[in-house]
Every structure is written in C-alpha cells, then in structure tokens.
C-alpha cells in the first residue's frame, strides 16, 4: 500500500500518530537532531541527515527501571515496575539504523533468555523507515554500503518512506505497517507514478555510494583473531583513544548495560543503565582486579566484539556503518579506517 503526504503537512501526520500512541521522531535540538518523544507535532522535522544518537533508545532506553522498593520494609513490598507500553511509532529511522534493530534482536530476543523489555518494546512499535536523500552525498563518516546496507533499504521497517520533491511517499512493508497506513486518514493515496518513483528510488538506493570496502564477516573475524595478540597494532590504533563512552552511547548496536540500585532516603529503585566497554571500571571486579586496564585492551574488546565475537556467536557483524562513532569521537578515531588497517595488517 502506497500513501503520500506533503512534507509541509508532516505535523498533521505526527498528530495523527500521537493520537494512537507514543511518537518518537527526529527533532532539531541545540546541537543537532535526535529522536525524542514528541509532545508537540510541530517538533517533528524530517530535514535531517541522521541523528546524533541512534534510535536504539526507543527499545533499549538509557535507563530502565526494574523494581521499586523501600529499604527497611519487608522484601515482598518491593514492586516490579510495570511495563505496560502504549503502541509506539518510531518515525524516520534511516535504513542502517533499522538494520541495527535486527542485529540487536538476535542478542536480546532470539538467543538464550529473552530480554522482556526489548521484546515488548519491539512488538508494540511500528517502524517508519526513511530512505536517505539520494540527491545529497553521503557523509564522510558513513560506510553502511560496506555492511551491505543500501541508502533506501526498506527491510526491517513496517512502513518505508521516501521523499519525492515536496512529498513524502509511505509504503507498507509489513502487515503491521499496512494496517497503520490504512488507519491514517491524513494520508493520500499514492499514484502509479509515485509507485514507480518509489520502486526506482529503492533500486537506486542500492547504488548509493558511501565509503566501502569488501568486508566478508568470516574474513574479518579470522583476521581479528590472528591480530588479537598483536599488541603493537592495538597500541598504535588506540594511541589517540581517550577511553570515553561517546562511540558506544551513539552506536545503534552497542548494548552493554549495568544494573544498579539507586536510593534516596528510604526509596530505592533497581534499574539498568547503559554502560560502555570503554570505561575503565567496566570490568573492575569487587576484588579490585581488573582484566582490562589498558586503553588498547578496551578498544580491542570493542572492535572484536563488533567484528569478531558477534560474528562467531550470532553470525553477523554488529555494525551497520552509520558512522556515528567516527563522527562524534572527540579524537577522530575512525572505525572504518581501523578495520581497513586491520585487514591490511
């Protein structure tokens, strides 16, 4: 089902979605765009390239409360924080970010114990994917082509959106998407020309150039395994790294978290909070022992996790080439160059 709406009426669409549930959409903030929960439909702004942080927080918020309790009270007075979510709409996610949800699904949803929070959020959400603007060149940091992701890949979205001049074309990809498109009265029917434009756009998206190299998961895994003990290599590539958490926090596929108890007077909450393998205390044990004390060990862990461990464990590279880590790295470490380097080493 193909629908359309004029981009300058986007706030009407937003309002319609807000009537049905939570709407997460790109909003221009002081320092750039981000997905935020929309309070005012006028906030929604599709004139962005990509957001600072990835939209993973829609399903895996920075902070998730598990249990509320009061210290000094009997243990059975603790209450599990209910997770009754209204339907949510993630509006405007770029294809590479949509791809990241599939990768995260494997970890949270399809292996071993299922993470109930991720699962429920994923199930209740409708994803409106949004093709990159093919007229404009890719950002220098981006390299999703390397990971086999096109600039207009609709896979993974429930509804996929393409910009056509002043219009936004919305095509349903899944039954869930079809259902919601059918319900949205603010949309107009797409014409045959729109349909053609849409299909060509998707095709063109495959050719859209970002930085690209030939990266076969098995090969990079093997290469990284061989390189594992090459301390010289890791020390060299990590020589600029300052071990902050920017790359992991903006990354769409980083999922490490910490579980902690926060208290105020007698109230307490057990919650999980994002953590980063780049932090020095990430692996610090209660005994005081820390297996990763050097910067190079932490960077090695991060790279291996994405390009080797994840491949060994789940069969896919845990990176979608969105380039956020490179763009926001305070010292301009470029994961793409690093992988290139590793392949050559």
């Amino acid at each position: 089902m193909l629908k359309k709406i004029s981009i300058n009426k986007i706030s009407e669409l937003a309002a319609a979605l807000m009537d049905k549930g939570l709407l997460l959409a790109p909003v221009k903030e002081i320092s750039g765009y981000n997905f935020v929960e929309i309070k005012d439909p006028k906030q929604v702004d599709l004139d962005f390239h990509n957001t600072i942080a990835s939209p993973k927080a829609a399903f895996f918020p920075h902070k998730e409360d598990f249990i509320k309790y009061e210290t000094g009270k009997p243990i059975d007075t603790a209450s599990v924080v209910a997770l009754n979510l209204p339907p949510a709409f993630l509006f405007g996610a770029r294809p590479c970010d949509v791809k990241s949800f599939e990768i995260m699904d494997i970890h949270f949803n399809a292996s071993g114990i299922v993470d109930p929070f991720w699962k429920q959020r994923r199930e209740t959400a409708v994803i409106f994917g949004y093709a990159f603007d093919l007229e404009k060149p890719a950002q220098p940091e981006e390299f999703y082509q390397t990971l086999g992701i096109g600039a207009a890949d609709p896979e993974g979205s429930d509804v996929f959106m393409v910009k056509k001049g002043g219009d936004l074309l919305l095509n349903s990809v899944t039954p869930k998407g079809e259902k919601i498109l059918a319900e949205l009265k603010v949309l107009n029917e797409g014409k045959a020309a729109d349909k053609k434009y849409y299909e060509e756009y998707i095709k063109k998206g495959k050719e859209y150039k970002t930085r690209s190299m030939c990266l076969e998961p098995g090969a990079i895994t093997k290469k990284l395994e061989d390189l594992f003990y090459n301390t010289d290599f890791w020390t060299r590539v990590s020589s600029a790294c300052i071990s902050c958490g920017v790359c992991t926090f903006v990354c769409p596929t980083c999922y490490c978290f910490d579980i902690c108890d926060d208290t105020l007077f007698a109230q307490g909450i057990r919650r999980r909070v994002w953590d980063a393998c780049m932090f020095t205390d990430f692996t610090l044990e209660a005994s005081g022992h820390n297996p990763r004390t050097h910067v190079y060990q932490r960077l090695r862990q991060k790279i291996n996790h994405k390009y080797s461990y994840h491949v060994r464990k789940y069969g896919v590279i845990s990176c979608v080439g969105c380039g956020r880590c490179t763009k926001h790295c305070p010292v301009n470490i470029d994961i793409y160059s690093l992988i290139e380097d590793a392949m050559k080493a």
Binding site: D65, L264, Q267
Partner: protein
C-alpha cells in the same frame, strides 16, 4: 504553617561544635532549623557534601570552623577557606541563591556568636524560601 527550613550545619569538633555546646550551656535560645554534623576539622568538608546536602533538600548550609590561625590542626581551615570559597562560587554560578551557603569562623568560646549566626542565617533562609533548584523531589523514575 509557616515555612520551616531545613538547614545543615557542618561544624568542626574543636571550635564551632564546642561553641555550639557553649551556646547550650549558657541557655542561648536560637531557632531549631539547624541540624549539625560534627567533623574533626572544617577541612574535612568535601565540596560534594554540600552539593549533596542541597540535593537532599537542605534549604541552607552553614559551615563552621575555627578562626583562621586557630585551627586545631594548624592550617586545616586555611585550606578549607579556599575550598569552600570555590564551592560557593560554583553554587552561585550555577544559579543557586548566594545566601544559602555560608561559612563562619566560630571559636569554642563564642557561644553567643554561634547563636547569633544561627538566628541570622535561619532568618535569611526563611526569607529566601524553600530551596528547589538542586533538591531531588523524589527518586527519578522514567525519564
């Protein structure tokens, strides 16, 4: 009911705390809004104690130490003076009312000064009203 502020006092063991005791011994009455924590020296005060106190809902924080030169540990309060001065500037620039944080040198013999300072400071805090900027209203749940 009128506003009864919560005021945190942090007093050094040797001068201000003893001075506060003296105020008691001489039965000098002052408002009961001040709750004193005893530390050995005003230099023990970590600036984060003060930030935390405001977060926990203190409407004012009063620090008391020995007069400069009279520190039981020779120079503790001279360091404290610098550190607390910086603390005050930080709070001010963050936008907290300057009057909510005060440092006073009160010796062991200045029971009357202690009572006066508490009286005056309490009145000042009442004037300023409840401190709501840094205070954590409740344990933050969903963002």
């Amino acid at each position: 009911m009128s506003f009864e502020p919560k005021i945190l006092g942090i007093a050094c063991n040797w001068c201000t705390y003893t001075g506060a005791d003296l105020a008691g011994t001489t039965r000098l009455h002052y408002p009961q809004n001040l709750r004193v924590v005893r530390v050995m020296c005003s230099s023990r005060i970590n600036p984060s104690f003060i930030f935390r106190a405001f977060q926990l809902g203190a409407d004012g924080v009063l620090v008391g130490g020995c007069h400069p030169g009279d520190c039981h540990y020779n120079t503790g309060n001279l360091y404290a003076r610098r550190r607390l001065a910086v603390t005050k500037k930080i709070l001010e620039f963050a936008g907290l009312e300057p009057g909510r944080f005060r440092v006073e040198w009160i010796s062991a013999s200045e029971g009357n000064k202690f009572a006066e300072v508490v009286q005056e400071f309490t009145a000042q805090i009442k004037e300023l009203g409840p401190q709501q900027k840094l205070k954590i209203e409740q344990l933050q749940e969903k963002a």
